[in-house]
Amino acid sequence: PKDSVCTMAQGTCLQGLQGPRAWPVRWLSGRGQEILKWNGWGYNDSKFIFNKKGQAEFTGKRYRLSGMVLPVLKEWMEKTLGASLEHKITSRAFLNTSDVPPSIVSEEFLQDLRASKISYSQEAEDRVFRAHGHCLHEIFVLREGMFKRIPDIVVWPGCHDDVVKIVELACKHNLCIIPIGGGTSVSSALECPADERRTIVSLDTSQMNRILWVDEKNLTAHIEAGIIGQDLERQLGESGYCTGHEPDSMEFSSLGGWVATRASGMKKNIYGNIEDLVVHIKMVTPRGVIEKNCQVPRMSTGPDIHHFIMGSEGTLGVVTEVTIKIRPIPEYKKYGSVVFPNFERGVACLREIAKQRCAPASIRLVDNAQFQFGHALKPQVASIFTSFLDGLKKFYITKFKGFDPNELCVATLLFEGDREKVLQHEKQVYDIAAKFRYDFQGILFLIWSEILNYIFCYRVIDLCRNVKERIVRECKEKGVQFAPFSTCRVTQTYDAGACVYFYFAFNYRGISDPVHVYEQIERAAREEILANGGSLSHHHGVGKLRKQWMKESISDVGLGMLKSVKEYVDPNNIFGNRNLL
């Protein structure tokens, strides 16, 4: 499970997990009242707690780890971050609706809206829920304060035509529309500009969640953009297909969101990133509807207009329908992992695999700190035998192979396809890995939350070291009392480079303004990445969080190009979330 807050403010990471009170939201419709946390990532029932014995435990039933005791997590937290159970901060358990800014909507618009029979809400909870993504400062505000500006009204269009009507009404009444899909943004993209005077309409696409048709001959499916990733895969799976697009957020993020942010999936090595998957897009803009005239794999008709839409982050319009490639569900899946004596060897191995173009569906390399964190999340073992096996493995790697437990790192692999081909493929990869000294291991890693992500060429080792070092230094300079948890992993390999995630957590005990400190450190880390030749973002997008570096990233002319598109498509800035530009 991914819990961005848990990661970032580790010293008090328990605060949000202390039984937040559920309150109804209209979300994930069609599956009953699934409940998400109102002030954090994921499901209400899945959280880390300390049980009566003082042991860490993960609740719920959804995940492999659910319901298990994690006996070494507490020690890890104490050791790595200087966290202690005696220093708990309890955040408020539920939203105080009296703090919520009032909803200001003109009666004329409401009349038009009612006439169009589109459902809407002005309830405080509904509006606050759509006023934020999952950046640290947003979650912090939810728990400790209140947003200055939130949407005035939430609308739930049911189909493409409803969206057309809403956009027309917005133009007519001069309103500001901020589209929202799964709400999993980590770039401040959903934050309402504080000085927006117009009525802000939150356009929630969650009710547009049908698969309209599946073309088994051409292997495409036409789908409404509001569908959530896990629903999409489940429904396609019922007829034996999948898209193969699996971003870490796929439990909660939507197809439209993927398109709007240029998303990337874990298994892009087989299925491609969103730009490789999309065949056709329909988007409603203030100028009208934009779409291509046919559903073909490729066109040579000038610059691809899809590339203005992908990554537009809700600044141009609302993506309503998407035709996406589908594949038959693979017959066979196999997980594996490889241990390397150090991070450098691991990176060299990944590079070799990319060079030979034999990367499995997913291959990820975690550094030593994350490897140790993975160990901290190991559940209590059921039998003496498994514990014996674990001990043996540990002995084998550290003593027999001579790997330093404080240096070694692990790559996790996922193979997919025909059984035979998978086995063949697996052998090929392990043969390469053998040159870099490997060993099999059966540890399953849990995916944790990301803060930064970047792509770059050939400079992985230096970049990783520099950025981690910069984070540690900045923390020290900013008065953080305990060494931070500063770690990274290589999550994607490309022919021409790789993608790296950086994670960091620090204990903010004794710091008066931890969010500000966090933001300064994050900023410094991002500057370090840019200075090292990394990019601004591999797949989370720019939003408002990374806007200031756009000019540097794509040049003056590049920025001007994007601006002129915006000016033509949306001259009155109806889609006024102010992302990107």
Partner: protein, 681 residues
């Protein structure tokens, strides 16, 4: 114009890290006494315990974090196999149509010729023999231990570059010796190839960590690639601190030489490419009470060629072992983080868009940055140079030739001591001795230059008579240049206030604007002679004015600068300190306008000016012996080129120069003002 902004108005500060703020000077005075207490004499212990045991001591220096030990041969291999070197080999093979194997062989040869071969045995040998030698040569070797501790810390954190001042061959021997004494990692040293001529010593040096570079290799791309990669490999992996001399060569005049940028830009590159997180630059100031090579330098400056380094030459030098060379002060400066220096300056690195192994020309931004860092480091070196009483005595003496009464000398020296301290000079004055005794012992130490005859202190061989023979002129020049090298040490501290004083005399004006533009002229002319941070003339001016105001020499109003009554004698002294330079430049400009041929080479120029000056000195029409210094002559030529008075042109065999008479007359006029004042005063 720039000069309109007065020293009292708001000063533009180019960022705190870069500003040599005037306040630094006021703080420095208090620091001076503190600094002195920090010094520890390392020879003291050597005189009390066994050198052999010391040489055989357990030596386990702290190293860069995460470093795995590596043999020199492995380093050479990794240099040879590096993408950078392989790329250049392939390029050259393509261009010259030769097989890569042949070029690879060449690269191996270069590497063998260059590479160090750090060996503990050699280090122990040096530790033993240097202990013996140093104890004989020097009274004390003083080190600031706090600096050593900071260095020890720095070595563990990031790659370290040691940047010592360069006054003597002793410099790098001493530095390695000190690091060994304090159990620190021995540096690898970029040394000139001329050492290789010394058979046994060359090999010993190599084994103690020296690596050798050819003095000139601008055109040889393979050499450059191998050399640069060698240095960077050492640095990146943090095998050992890199040591080299920013000044490029030993300063023959004891003035800090303008920095060379080649090596500095090489050691900065791994940071620019972010191959390392940071790099520490450590300025080190090594001050000698008496420089081993003092007479050798004077001969060289007068054009007697430098003897080639040879082992037999070193053996002959044994006779100096019976001589006393006073104390040495080694000050390890605060390690300077390159990352901090670069903050906000070189964000847009070209290295992001090009594969890192491709050789690239430095962008203008980066070149400018490297230049600034080089000057900054030299200024830091100068700040911590220790001045001995003899430096003050020499300065007084040179203004009172041919002889001065001993009592008067003591009095004036004491007066100068006060002024030096007020200007922030880092003075090492023996507090436990009376002034008389301090001066006497200094005179004794330098008895080869001065003698005390009948209560008069005289510079040996100097009589100041007209119509002397060439031989006599030569002898006198020798003494004056040797003495001048010590006075020069004071000039680093005095240059800013002195140039203000000179400007005051030249302009004979109170108007600040006029004085400032004259100051700019002087600073421009003397830019190669002294170290000024690039581009901040106004700051230099303000600093000079500030120090003079502080010492009550001048009063500054928004429009005017007035010399106080008390300050007049100080101003005269300060201006006189720089008289040899002004005079020298004037004589050279006279030579250029009268004698210089249509087009001439540097060699012709130096020969010409030397003859010209000898004649003047023999006939007694000048007393400026320092114009004979080839250092001053070369600097003057460079200054005239910079000011467009002389045109420099590239020809097939080197450079030739031609004079622009019109511009020369203008410049000569400026000098004329100054000189006429001195003649009338």
């Amino acid at each position: 114009t720039e000069c309109k902004s007065s020293p009292n108005s708001d000063i533009r500060k180019p960022g705190s890290i870069w500003s040599h703020s005037v306040f630094a000077y006021s703080q420095q005075k208090e620091l001076t006494s503190k600094k002195r207490d920090e010094f520890e004499d390392i020879l003291e212990e050597r005189r009390q315990s066994s050198d052999l045991r010391y040489a055989m001591k357990c030596y386990s220096p702290v190293i860069y974090k995460g470093l795995s030990a590596c043999k020199p041969s492995a380093i050479k291999d990794s240099v040879l196999q590096s993408e950078q070197v392989q790329y250049v080999i392939k390029q050259l093979s393509k261009e010259m149509g030769e097989s890569t194997d042949i070029i690879q062989e060449e690269a191996i040869e270069i590497l063998d010729e260059m590479g160090h071969n750090l060996h503990i045995g050699a280090i122990r040998f040096f530790a033993f023999s240097l202990s013996k030698i140093f104890k004989r040569l020097f009274q004390r070797v003083c080190v600031n231990e706090e600096g050593i501790q900071k260095l020890q810390q720095a070595i563990q954190e990031h790659p370290v570059v040691l940047l010592p001042s360069h006054r003597s061959y002793i410099d790098f021997l001493m530095l390695s010796y000190l690091l060994y004494t304090y159990d620190l990692a021995l540096p690898v040293i970029a040394a000139g190839m001329d050492f290789l001529g010394m058979k046994i010593v060359g090999e010993l040096l190599r084994r103690s960590g020296a690596f050798f570079m050819r003095r000139t290799f601008g055109g040889n791309r393979l050499y450059w690639a191998v050399f640069a990669e060698y240095v960077k490999t050492m640095l990146r992996n943090g095998y050992a601190p890199i040591e080299f001399f920013l000044e490029g060569t030993r300063s023959r005049t004891a003035k800090t030489l303008t920095p060379k940028f080649g090596l500095l830009s090489i050691v900065m590159e791994p940071f620019f490419k972010r191959e390392v997180f940071d790099t520490y630059l450590v300025p080190i100031s090594i001050s000698y009470e008496r420089i081993l090579e003092e007479s050798l330098y004077a001969y060289e400056l007068l054009g007697v060629p430098k003897p080639k380094e040879s082992t037999s030459g070193l053996l002959k030098a044994r006779k100096i072992l019976s001589d006393n060379f006073g104390s040495i002060h080694v000050y390890f400066g605060q390690p300077v983080s390159l990352r901090t220096l670069a903050y906000g300056r070189v964000d847009r690195c070209p290295y992001r868009l090009v594969p890192r192994h491709l050789p690239q020309k430095l962008s203008e931004d980066i070149q400018e940055f490297v230049t600034d860092v080089a000057y900054k480091m030299e200024l830091l070196q100068m700040e911590n140079m220790v001045l001995s009483p003899w430096v003050l005595i020499a300065s007084v003496l040179l203004q009172n030739l041919p002889a001065i009464d001993f009592e008067l000398l003591v009095e004036k020296t004491l007066w100068l001591k006060g002024l030096t301290q007020a200007f922030g000079g880092f003075l090492e004055w023996p507090d436990n001795l009376s002034a008389n005794k301090a001066v006497t012992s200094s005179l004794a130490l330098h008895s080869n230059i001065v003698s005390l005859v009948n209560g008069q202190v005289v510079l040996n061989d100097v009589r100041m008579e007209n119509g002397a023979t060439e031989e006599l002129v030569f002898k006198q020049a020798l003494s004056i240049l040797m003495c001048g090298a010590y006075r020069n040490q004071l000039l680093n501290v005095f240059v800013r206030p002195s140039l203000v004083a000179v400007a005051l005399q030249m302009t004979q004006s109170f108007r600040k604007e006029e004085i400032y533009s004259c100051f700019i002229f002087l600073r421009d002319i003397l830019y190669d002679e002294f170290i000024f941070f690039p581009g901040i003339a106004l700051k230099d001016f303000e600093e000079g004015c500030f120090l003079l105001t502080k010492s009550d020499v001048i009063q500054v109003t928004p429009q005017e600068i007035l010399v106080t009554e008390r300050g007049n004698s100080v101003a005269v002294f300060l201006a006189a300190l720089f008289r040899p330079f002004m005079k020298g430049y004037q004589i050279i400009s006279r030579y250029l306008s009268k004698e210089a041929k249509e087009a001439f080479t540097e060699k012709q120029f130096i020969l010409g000016i030397r003859n010209f000056a000898f004649q003047l000195l023999q006939t007694g029409s000048t007393q400026c012996y320092e114009v004979l210094s080839s250092d001053l002559q070369k600097n003057a030529l460079a200054a005239f080129v910079r000011l467009d008075v002389v045109k420099k042109m590239k020809t097939t065999n080197g450079f030739t120069y031609t004079v622009n008479k019109e511009a020369l007359n203008k410049t000569a006029e400026m000098f004329g003002k100054c000189i006429s004042y001195w003649y009338t005063s």
